[in-house]
Symmetry: C2
Subunit: 372 residues, 2 copies
């Protein structure tokens, strides 16, 4: 079974930075001229690599970035040191982090009354009008001021405005991916009410799905994440975004199995007939979810190759039976995990999860190739 000497030894992850930039511009086209398009780059830019993603987005015109954690903010500030780049930390103001945020020019999203107290008290100790975003919970019950907390803060809005600069009031949709979900309008309405009480602050509500649904949700700034990386913000219809990620993995071995032989750990799949299989270098230690076992598929030149048996730590077994015998791949051939025939959203569906998890789980053993 001869094969080319130039074939790679590891899975090949291709990241299309031009598509990332183009997706950012697609969002810009979608929103009004007075609305800003920020970018969510938390979780290593949804797994594609913040070191390349953030500068690409910056060159495409993005000035505001959202990260989850303080550490991510510090890392991103190192990548984008320019004064006019704003970096917002979504997970709030952990107590004692005030100096670190300030030193690295990071802006906290204040999620609670405690966060507000801590930031105002730091502003009093240092200098007034420290910037921040105020996060109002309108239906996620995750982070942000509850309705009750909001009622205690509203009467202090003017006084607060003399100590800290609440640049934006923001909230976050819980069901914007589901078109017409009743919570969407309810959240938009609750947000409107809350934001009306902070007259000097701008407003930010929409995530990726919000950008592509209702223009009244755009306000002063949208905060897309997933759609920048090629996931579909409107799952009920065609994906308006360009794919950013593709991934292929090498076949290590082909094998003909006799009827009655079992495959993989737990012998969870048994051959009903003689069949041809291939073992590829891809496992759950590469972030390829074990729930793909006996459920998902990979592709060879457009032919679906069902995953047979349990995905193991470093290896996955596929069936070649759907492929005409003379067209079957051989040892060393690269099998598509993500690419023209299978998007991250598609694969996620078979795995029982969402495209986001497919991306953020992309492992460290692939060779990472960036195309700009």
């Amino acid at each position: 079974m001869p094969y080319s000497k130039t074939r790679p030894f590891a899975g090949q992850l291709h990241i299309d930075l031009a598509a990332l930039a183009s997706n950012y511009k697609r969002v810009k086209q979608r929103i009004g001229i007075h609305c800003e398009a920020a970018a969510a780059v938390k979780a290593d830019a949804y797994g594609i690599g913040i070191e390349r993603a953030a500068p690409t987005l910056s060159e495409a015109g993005c000035k505001s970035f959202f990260v989850a954690t303080l550490q991510e903010g510090v890392q991103l500030r190192g990548l984008l040191p320019e004064n006019d780049i704003r970096i917002y930390v979504l997970n709030g103001l952990q107590d004692g982090a005030e100096e670190i945020l300030d030193f690295h020019l990071l802006t906290p999203v204040l999620n609670s009354v405690t966060d507000i107290e801590n930031w105002t008290s730091y502003a009093k100790r240092t200098r007034p009008y420290l910037k921040c975003i105020l996060h109002i919970d309108t239906g996620m019950a995750r982070l942000g001021l509850s309705e009750d907390e909001l009622e205690t803060v509203i009467p202090r809005a003017r006084a607060l405005g003399k100590i800290i600069d609440i640049e934006y009031v923001m909230s976050h949709f819980s069901c914007a991916d589901e078109k017409g979900h009743p919570l969407n309008n309810l959240q938009a309405k609750r947000f409107q009410y809350a934001a009306d009480s902070f007259v000097f602050s701008k407003r930010s509500l929409a995530n990726s799905s919000g950008v592509f649904r209702d223009e009244s949700w755009h306000h002063d700034m949208v905060r897309p994440g997933m759609c920048l990386y090629g996931l579909n913000p409107t799952p009920e219809t065609e994906n308006p975004m360009q794919p950013v990620v593709s991934l292929s993995v090498p076949i290590l071995q082909r094998r003909t199995l006799s009827k009655g032989e079992s495959v993989g750990y737990g012998a969870s799949w048994v051959a009903e007939d003689k069949c041809e299989l291939a073992t590829v270098q891809l496992g759950y230690a590469d972030g390829f979810n074990r729930s793909a076992s006996n459920a998902a598929k990979l592709y060879w030149q457009g032919h679906a190759c069902p995953i047979i048996g349990r995905v193991s730590m470093d290896l996955t077994i596929i069936s070649l039976e759907n492929i005409p015998p003379d067209l079957r791949p051989v040892q060393g051939d690269m099998i598509e995990v993500l690419g023209p025939y299978q998007s991250a959203d598609d694969l996620a569906l078979d795995m029982g999860t969402i495209g986001y998890e497919v991306l953020t789980s992309l492992g460290r053993r692939y060779a990472r190739n960036y195309k700009s």
Copy 2:
């Protein structure tokens, strides 16, 4: 809600290297004096970090290490450059990798007739008696010589022995974690038959579970992996190993929810009554599987805190209702993900997966603390 200034901003992953060394010694005690205990350190030493795990195991007396890929082998050789340390690459001899393996003193596991041809032809071109392991498939259908291939190789065993040094004949159990699974004895028997044909080679069959089940499976070398890292090799009974990994994550915010309010993406959980929740800094981007949504639990001082709603990218919401009100944790408190009250095996069960995947998925955003 005041809390200590010294609390960490990130999840804290603790790796007990002394427990790792002790687990290795536990395996040594379990096997005969003439049997060697190798260590599987593929997938970044099952997620705990090969840079610390490999030297620890080496100091504990381990001389033979198994990795999955060529790249892992090259990395490990850098960590353990000593001549008497043997590094075996399980995923075989990808064509063209001969020189790389040889240069880094890596020994391939030959999985196919093609692998044998490539290694013998390289030996002929360079020098005789190049070391290797011959992998016989006895029931995984994943890697290794099939029965048919074996029959073609056996008659050449003596001739091969003049060109390459087949140090070991090995095979791999598919169901050793299941006590008394009929495949176990069948595989052991098939292995015996195959190994009998390579009279100058030593034998290796047992993985972690194999070590703790049947002494007749030990042969000349055992290759434990999971049990070294504290997972239970005999799931039907008490874990004979010491835990190696613990993980705790900070509470970012506490919240009281009213009856009828929903939680998280997709509003998949709705409060039947007023209840108290906490949001912790832990998400699927940290390798915390989304399948934990509405299914798994975290712990606070021994009290189970069920996960409520969907796990999101950076955040997870737990219920505090099981905890007496005056004992409930506050913002900044560290909640146990893995530790005395929940092992990786326990958590995996609730997630519908296995402890291995919990470990190999451990994310990069935790602070990693090694105790030796």
